[in-house]
Structure formats: structure tokens, C-alpha cells
Amino acid sequence: MHENVSSINIPLSEIKSPQFRAGDLEIASLVIINLPKHDLEYVAGRIDFNLLSTPVVLVLNGTDIDITEWINLRNVNYFIQDDKPEVQARLVELSKTRIQRRTVIKQIAEQSKSADSVVQEQEEQIIAKTLDIELSNQEQNQKLKRERQLLKFLKDIALADFYDSFLRSIKNEFKVFHALGEIFLVDLKSDNDLAILNLKVSDLWREHKLPAGQSNPIGDFQGTKNLSTFFANLLQRPFGKVVPMNLKGNYFLIVESHLSDIQNVPFQEFFNDRQEILKMVFDKIDNEEKMNSFSFRWEKIFDFIKDPIAIVDEDYNVIAHNDAFHRQGDLRKCYEVFAGGHQPCSGCPLEQNRNSSTMKNGNIIVANSAFDVMAFELGNVEGAKRSFVHTYKDQTESNVLQLEVIQKKKMATIGRLAGHLSHELNNPLTGIRSMAQILLKEAIPATPTHKDLIEIESAAQRSLSVIKNFIEFSDNKNTRIESTDIHGLIERTMPLMKTSLRNHVVMKNLNAVNYTAQVNPPLFQQVLFNLIKNAIQAMSEKGRVTIETYNPSSTIFKISISDTGKGIPPSVQPLIFQPFFTTKEKNQGNGLGLSIVKSIVESFNGKIYFTSEEGVGTQFHIELPLASRNENTSH
């Protein structure tokens, strides 16, 4: 890289001129000064060669003095004693090369100088940066520490499941500030109801306070100005500064502070830092509390309902239930829990409802009770099992009542009929019997006429007694329980069934020695009538009805009515005392039903039970307590 070299030949006269400035020479790449040697000192006075960055060639004419030392002291690249032109030209060439080299060096030097500055700059930057990082690291650490503390607090307070543990956590957390007073919760329910929730020893207390004439400072809770006075009045003691925090709705956290203004700054920061956490956790507690009391109330209501209620899924699993359904907690299939069975109850509507969108109700029988099962479906979740609410309404009582009402109506009708019949039949029968008695007196004894008249008289008498028994039987106005001769009652009942018993063998073994019991005669007659009628109906072919009585103990009278009929299948044996249960054809089942028989017997403090064997027969047993001896004899 060859630079353009410009050279300036300056005549001495110019240097001598007052306008000459050495600095002007700088624009050239090479300065050649041609002068006589005696002017050398003069020129040196005008031009400080050492300040001149441009190379200088001195051309001295006719010199004889040694100026080597002088030149050496100065920035003169070459000097030529002789001004022979070829020498000069060579010198210029040399100078040029030299100048070029020098320029390159100079450039390199400058470049390296600028590189230095770059490096230095970068170093400075690095130092600054490092400083920065160190600073931010510190900050970061502090922040991290703060976050850690908050996290620790959150972890701690998140365990709080009620106001008490919530407060305890706060008190524990705020312990670092020694000058804090009470910390408690305030529930501003309304203008005239304020509750303070605070820990006393370790229990939570809820106190309702609002002295007369003091209105709630709901609006004032934002500014702390009046709150100290407010709480001082409320709690009847001096109260420090109040730091309130609205946790949620009408709930406030109140911190009593005795901190100085300077101490207050970090506290306020500490307090604010925890605000979000406190609100969040309190919200959770409050919601849980509401949920708890809500579901608790519902559970109470459900348990209070006397009818069993259960939520059952489509596979009969009990999901929830009330006390009436089941008391213990182990939930299994509903039919296991409620009915003690191993398969779904007969009559349960679930089987139908699980495959249908419209709900059907059903009736089931559990133990000796009949239940209406009302079903409705819980809103079902897509893909989940369907579930149903079953309400079980015990119909046993109302079924029995209903049956009793029907029975009473039936008996009232029979009673009216008996009244008419007795009037219509008693008169002619009385006439027949009376006439037979008169004719008997006139007839000659032992003649066929006399015998016939005896038959007529006794037939009339029998007819009259049937009517009398029938009236007695249908006497539904007589509800008196009295000492009754049961044997006599049996004797009066049998004739009423003479036709039905016609095809069977009747055996009466009335072996009881004491047979006076406290019963209502017409009702007990109905019991006997029904049991005998059942015995007859159990026998499709000619069979035997046995009526036995005896005293199994000195206080018990027992009557057994047996048939030789088909027996009761074991599967229906548990059901036969249930209302409306019948194995009879529709028009045959016109009796009282064994449920009423049972309730009548039990109303006399008696008990009824049976033994039955299929193909052999059935025995019904009634045990009645004997009437006391006095009553026995007075009867």
C-alpha cells in the first residue's frame, strides 16, 4: 500500500517570512528544507523539528561544520550536505519508504491504541455488569427469602380448617413483631350485630357485642382513625392502633398494634405481603364452614325424617342414606342393608327404572312391614352410573288401618243384615217352635208324630240359635273386652260354619280346664271363624279340621286349629301375616286376612303363630292369658 507522498520544498525566504508557521508543514508527507548551512540555527529557531510529525529532509549547501550532533537531537530524517540532484532524488525515495513504514507503524500503533480502549471499555462494562449482578443477586436472595417465608406461612395456614387454627397461625406468624396486641376476627353481621371471634386459651370464642348507642363502623374500617376508640369502647380497655383487613364480606381481621412509626413500615409491608394468603385461606375456611353447616343441616334434616331414604346407584349400591334407612356406616347393596336380603327386593322399582327415563314407584315387603318405594333420579353425569333417590314409606300401619276400616264396614253391613234377618226369621221360627211345643203336649208320646214334632221343635231351636250367634258375631257395637268362656264361644261358632264343614271331618278336643280369657266375644268369634274358614279352604279334598284346646301352663289357654290341607310353602310363610297378602283366588279371599286376626289376638295380649308342612297341613295356635280365678268363677 503506497501512499501518495506530497513533498514541500520550502525556500528559506518563506521560512523567514513572518506568516510562516511550522504547523502548516504538517499537511505534507515530507518536508525538504534546502538552506545554506549558516542559516541552520535560524531555521531551527523557527521550526521545532521535534514537534513536527512530518519527516523532514534538510539539504544543506556548502557546509563544513559538523552538525551531526545537532541533527541527531532533532527529528530530522535525512540531511544532505550536497545538493546533487540524483542524491536528492534517492533520498526522497528513501524518505518515502521510510515515511510509509512510519505511517504503517503509526497506524498500527493507533489501531492498537483503539483496541486497548475497546478492551478497557469492555472491562469497565464487565465490572459494571458484575456489580449489577451482585446487586441483583442480593436483591434476588432477599426476594427469595421473602417468598420462602410467605410459602412457609401459606403452608402453615393452609392447614387451618377452622377460624381457631386460622387465628392461631396468624398469631404465630406475627409473633416476630413484639409490639403487637390482640389479633382477632370481627364479624360485622349487621348494623346492630357485631361478633368478635378470638382465642381464649386455646378455644375459639364467639362473642356478640355492640353496646347500646354504638353503631357498627362498617364504613370506618378503611380508615383507622376511629377504630381505636371504637374497640376501646367495645372491649372496655385502652386499645392500640388498629390494623384492619377485610378478609371476606363482613369478616375482618383486626390487629392491635403498638408499633412506632418506624417499626410500622416493615410491619405494614409484612402485613400486606400476607394479605392475599390470608384472604385466600379465610375464603376457603369460610366456604368449608358454610358447606359444612349447610350439609350438616341437610344431614340433620334427613336423619330427622322418619321415612327411610337412600341414594342408590343402578347396581343397588347405597351411596348415601339417612338414619331411618340404616344406622351403621358400612354401605353395601341396598337390599342387604335395608332388607337383609341377598337379591333385589321383589317389587323394587329400580330394575325397571334403571332402563327407563320415567320413574316408577314400587312396593316392597321388609320384615313384617310393607313399604311404598318412591323413586326419582338424581341428575346423572355423562358416563357415570345413574343414581336414584328412594324414599320408603311404611304402609303397614295404614294398610292395617285400611283393612280394619274395610272390615268394620263389612261387619256393619253384616250387622244390619243380621238385624233384618233376625226379625224376618225369628218371628216365624218362634211361631214354629211354639206351635211344636204345644202340639208336643197334645201328641201321644213315642208315636211317630211325637218324634216328628221333637225334630221340628229342635230344628227351630237350632235355627234360632244360629240367628242369635250370627247377631252376636256381627255385633260391631260391642267392643267390650270381658271374661269370656272360650269353649262356649267355640260351640257357638261351629254351627255358623256347618255347611262349609259338611264335607270334612271335624274333631273337637276341648281339653282345657281353664278356658276363660279376656276377649271381646264377637271379635274373637271372628278370629275363630276365619281360622276355621282358612283351614277349610286349605283342603281341596275331604280332610279333617281339628280344634283343640288345653292349658300349657296355669296361666295360659291355648287353642289350636289344624287342617290336613296343602300346607303353606316355606317361601310365603314369612309373609302370611302381612296385610293384603293372600294365596287365594280373587273372589275367595274375602276373610279378615291373617293380619287382622293377628292384630285382634294381640289386642287381647295373646299371640298367634303357626306350623306348616307342605302336603301335610297347617296348625294355627293362639295363646291367651287366662282371666284371673275370681273372674273365672264369677262368670
Binding site: G419, S422, H423, N426, N427, P428, L429, T430, G431, I432, R433, S434, M435, Q437, I438, K441, L464, I471
Partner: protein
């Protein structure tokens, strides 16, 4: 004693007539209230044995028609009212109340004679 027996049941009037005549009484029978009143007016009996319920008239109506009865004594019979009315109703001013059905016709005759004095 002149006795009038009024009952809608022929067999009863027949039996009582036969049994009471055996005992020496003069017995007239009527099988209804209207017929009975007619007989009562005609024969002026010492005693009327009267059934309580009859198709044409009941005993209280018959008794009302009889007014002061002109010295005739009255015995009532009834099958209908049952045990509760065994006591003779005092308002009817009768000698005796006989419950039907009879157990024995001759016992009834004894009762009638005794009541009529």
C-alpha cells in the same frame, strides 16, 4: 180373661191362642195393627198382647189409637229391639215386655197370666 193377641206372624198368634185357651181364657187374634184395633173396639178385651213391629202399624201407633185403652192392659212383644230393650219402656204404660224368640211358649203364658194379675 178376654185376651186379644195381635201379631203379623200367624204361627205365633195361633200358638198363643191355643196355649192360652187351654188355660181357660177367651182368646181373639188379629194379624195386623188395623185388624187388631178393630177387634179391640169390638170385643173390649181385658188384655192385649201386642207385637211391636208389624207391616201396617207399629205398637206405638196402635197404642196411640187405643187412647186411654178403656181399662185394657197391654203386654208388648218384640224380636227386633234386642237385649237392650228388655226393660219395659215406662212411657208406654204397659204391664210387661216379652222378648222374642220365646224359649218356651208355656213359660210365656205363665208370664202373661202373672202380669195381667
Amino acid at each position: 180373661m178376654k185376651i186379644l193377641v195381635i201379631d203379623d206372624e200367624v204361627l205365633i198368634t195361633m200358638s198363643l191362642k191355643r196355649a192360652l185357651e187351654k188355660r181357660g181364657h177367651a182368646v181373639e187374634v188379629a194379624n195386623g195393627g188395623v185388624q187388631g184395633l178393630e177387634a179391640w173396639r169390638r170385643i173390649k178385651p181385658d188384655l192385649v198382647v201386642l207385637d211391636f213391629i208389624m207391616p201396617d202399624m207399629n205398637a206405638d201407633q196402635v197404642l196411640a189409637e187405643m187412647g186411654d185403652r178403656g181399662g185394657t192392659k197391654v203386654i208388648l212383644m218384640s224380636a227386633y229391639l234386642g237385649e237392650k230393650t228388655v226393660e219395659k219402656p215406662p212411657s208406654l204404660q204397659i204391664e210387661l215386655f216379652i222378648k222374642k224368640p220365646f224359649e218356651n211358649i208355656f213359660d210365656i203364658c205363665d208370664l202373661i197370666e202373672k202380669a195381667a194379675g
